[in-house]
Each structure stands twice: as structure tokens, then as C-alpha cells.
């Protein structure tokens, strides 16, 4: 937990940095639009120059670039208690519904509120699959359904998932959930299929990322608190931001090397 003085300093210096970050978010947004429009033209040859250093987009028929590793920086100072926009956007995009704290509903992302009992300091942060470099869920999977893509996205290949839920037990972040019931046709999403008897979890909106877009949660955040990008590219907005500020992983001690990092984690 940070002491009161440290928080005040951050709070006072926040005005400038928030403006900077908003600008950066806007720039990233424009880059995405540029990349997407080139894709729709069917050209794509100039993609690596269009997005500048970002260059997120790949052509749909191209395989993944193993040099990339997608990650995210979540600024908890901008994340407020009660705001559920990222969660709602994910529900909308990926077609799941869950009551808060439901023991059996599917959840890909959730808001967690934490409180320091000693000082009363409270904060709120979104927690989803952390897209570990060393994912315990992949280690334990008996069928190979729990997998890591070449670009670092960890997801479930539901075609070969047998629903044993070992990965749910192994995940330190409680990111995975089991689909207990049939999903009616009208609630299904085309690009995020899930069905009874399989484990499912956040896949970093792989269908969007493959099309050069950012995940739905990051796009929906009104504060720009979620910065998505390529951790392996030193020139990406994400890498530059990470270089400038301290950031933390949840349960760093486990050595999972998460792709999602937080600033101002207690």
C-alpha cells in the first residue's frame, strides 16, 4: 500500500500526464483507423509504414507474428469504483452475461475493489486473463486445449477442451470460468463461440486484434485507463509508457510474467 504522501504527489502531477495519455490514446486510435482502412482496401502492402511503430494490423489471411507479444497497461488511478464500462463492453462483444459475484456464471473480466484496512484506502481495478508468458493453465491442461498463441494471447481451444476445469484451478487470477448451460442462439456471438461443457476466458479479443483493432474493453474505457500494445516492440506506445512509470503484475512472485500490468497496485 502506498503512503499518503506518494499518492498526493501523483495526484498533483496527474493533470499533465492524463492529458498526455489521452493524446496518446487518441493517436493510437487514429493509427488503428488508418490501419483498418488500409486493410479494407485490400492493399496491406504499406501496412508496416502506416501505423508507424504500432503496426498492429496483419492481413486476415496472414499467420500471427511470433515477434509480437500483446500486453496491456491498466492505470488504476483512472479506474473508478462503480464504473463497469469495460465489463459491459466485453459482455456485449463476446456475448456472456454474469451477475456480479455469481459462482457459476461465465465471466471474462470483472471489477475488483480492494481496500487497505489499515488506512481505508480503496481502489478499483479490472481483472481478466493476465495473458502470462508462463501460463499455469497451459501447463496443466491434459488435452492441449488451454493454449498460448505465438503472439502471447492465452486462450482456450474449445474444440478440444473436455471441460475438466483443471485450468480453472491452476489460474492464480481466477480468470477462467466454466460454461454450465447451453447458450441460446440469439445470445451467441459469431467470433466468440462458447458452449456448455467447456472452459472459457478472455482471449484479448483475438478476433479484433487479428483485424488490427484493440480489445473491446480498452476501446470502451472512457478514461483511457487501458493501454493495449506490443510489449516486444520498444517503440510501441505501451512499451514507452511502461519505460517511464513503475508498473506491477498481480502476484509477480509466481513468476507467471503477466502480459497485463498495472500502475499503482497496492
Amino acid at each position: 500500500m502506498m503512503d499518503q504522501g506518494a499518492r498526493d504527489k501523483t495526484a498533483s502531477g496527474q493533470e499533465v500526464s492524463r492529458e498526455d495519455e489521452l493524446n496518446e490514446a487518441r493517436r493510437a486510435f487514429m493509427r488503428n483507423i488508418a490501419a483498418a482502412s488500409v486493410i479494407s482496401l485490400g492493399g496491406g502492402l504499406t501496412l508496416f509504414t502506416v501505423g508507424g511503430s504500432q503496426a498492429q494490423a496483419k492481413k486476415p489471411e496472414e499467420p500471427l507474428d511470433p515477434k509480437k507479444r500483446w500486453g496491456m497497461l491498466i492505470d488504476t488511478t483512472k479506474c473508478s469504483d462503480g464504473c463497469q464500462k469495460c465489463v459491459d463492453a466485453c459482455k456485449q462483444e463476446n456475448g456472456w452475461e454474469a451477475e456480479p459475484h455469481s459462482p457459476h456464471d461465465v465471466q471474462w473480466i470483472r471489477k475488483v475493489n480492494v481496500k487497505d484496512p489499515a488506512t481505508g484506502f480503496m481502489m478499483s481495478l479490472p481483472v481478466m486473463c493476465q495473458h502470462c508468458a508462463n501460463p499455469p493453465c497451459v501447463d496443466v491442461c491434459p488435452t492441449g486445449a488451454s493454449m498460448q498463441r505465438a503472439d502471447g494471447i492465452v486462450r482456450v481451444n474449445m474444440h478440444i477442451c473436455i471441460g475438466c476445469r483443471y485450468c480453472m484451478m491452476a489460474c492464480p487470477y481466477k480468470a477462467r470460468s466454466f460454461v454450465h448451460e447451453d447458450i441460446p442462439e440469439e445470445k451467441k456471438r459469431f467470433h466468440a463461440p462458447m458452449g456448455k461443457g467447456c472452459v472459457t476466458s478472455c482471449d484479448f479479443c483475438a478476433h479484433r486484434v487479428d483485424a488490427g483493432k484493440i480489445p473491446a474493453c480498452a476501446e470502451a474505457c472512457p478514461e483511457g485507463a487501458m493501454l493495449f500494445g506490443d510489449l516486444n516492440d520498444p517503440n510501441s506506445a505501451l512499451s514507452k509508457r511502461l519505460k517511464g512509470i513503475p508498473s506491477y503484475q498481480i502476484r509477480e512472485d509466481l513468476g507467471t510474467d503477466t502480459g497485463i500490468r498495472y500502475t499503482r497496485l497496492p
Binding site: 489471411e61 496472414e62 498463441r149
Partner: protein, 161 residues
Amino acid sequence: MRALGKYVAAALVTGVLGVGAMPAATMAGEIGPKVPIDKSKGSCVLPGKEMRRVHMDILKHRRDLTMYQGIRGGKQALEACLTCHMVKDEKTGKPVTVASPKHFCRVCHDFAAVQPDCWTCHKSVPEAAVREAMIGPDGKMKASMMAQLRAFVQREHGGRK
């Protein structure tokens, strides 16, 4: 005279058999229901006869490409299948889901009594906004995709077409 009669009889028999065999042969090509397809959107990935045999392998191959390599869009995408083979309900005008026996998968699968497991998870109608990336800008399958597919089919089914 008797010999001639034999010839005539033989000719008749062959003729009858020949005529009898003709419709049987024509029917052999059409056994089973006809899969509804909108040809205005271009031809299918492969001719119908081959699709009947290899569609499940193409789907499986493609599914792995998408899962592991993020390859999406094009004619082999499941969404592309559903778009061209979409059947609309006569009353509502909406595309029918797999709950209806008119759905193009069920047309054949009901006949063959084979139950595909795809639709417990996958949506069985194309999403309203079908991505343009589905088919190349010229309305045809992209050449790179086609080559990939040909190589795959050749490798997997070259010996037993």
C-alpha cells in the same frame, strides 16, 4: 429366322437394361438432398461433389489455422459458408437457424443421420455485418487461400478422390 429372333431379343434385353440403367445412373449423382446455395455470391470453395466428401476436413483445417495462427476471413471462413448457404424463412424473411430442418447443414445431415456438434457453440446464422474481408475485392477467393487449400486437399485426399 430363329437366330434373328434371338438377336432381336438380345437387343431388346440390352436396350431395356440400358434404358433401365440410364435413370439409375442419373439418380446416382443426385442421391441425397440438394444443398441450398446462392450462386450469385460466387462459386463454393470446391465443386459440390468434392465438398460433400471433404467439407469436414476443410472446416477442421481452417479451424486450426484460425485458432493457432489467427488466419481469418476468406471463403473458407465458417461465416462465408453460412452467408452463401443461408436459407431464409418464407414467412419472416429472416435466415433460419440450425433449429430449422431447412438449415443447409441439416438438409444433408438429417438425411445422413449424422449430427454435427458445431452449433452447440457456434452461431448458425451469419452475423448481420459480414466483414468485407470475407471474399477478395474482386468477389473471388484470394489466390493465396486457394493455393493453400488445393495443397491441403491434394495432400489429404490426393489418393482417393
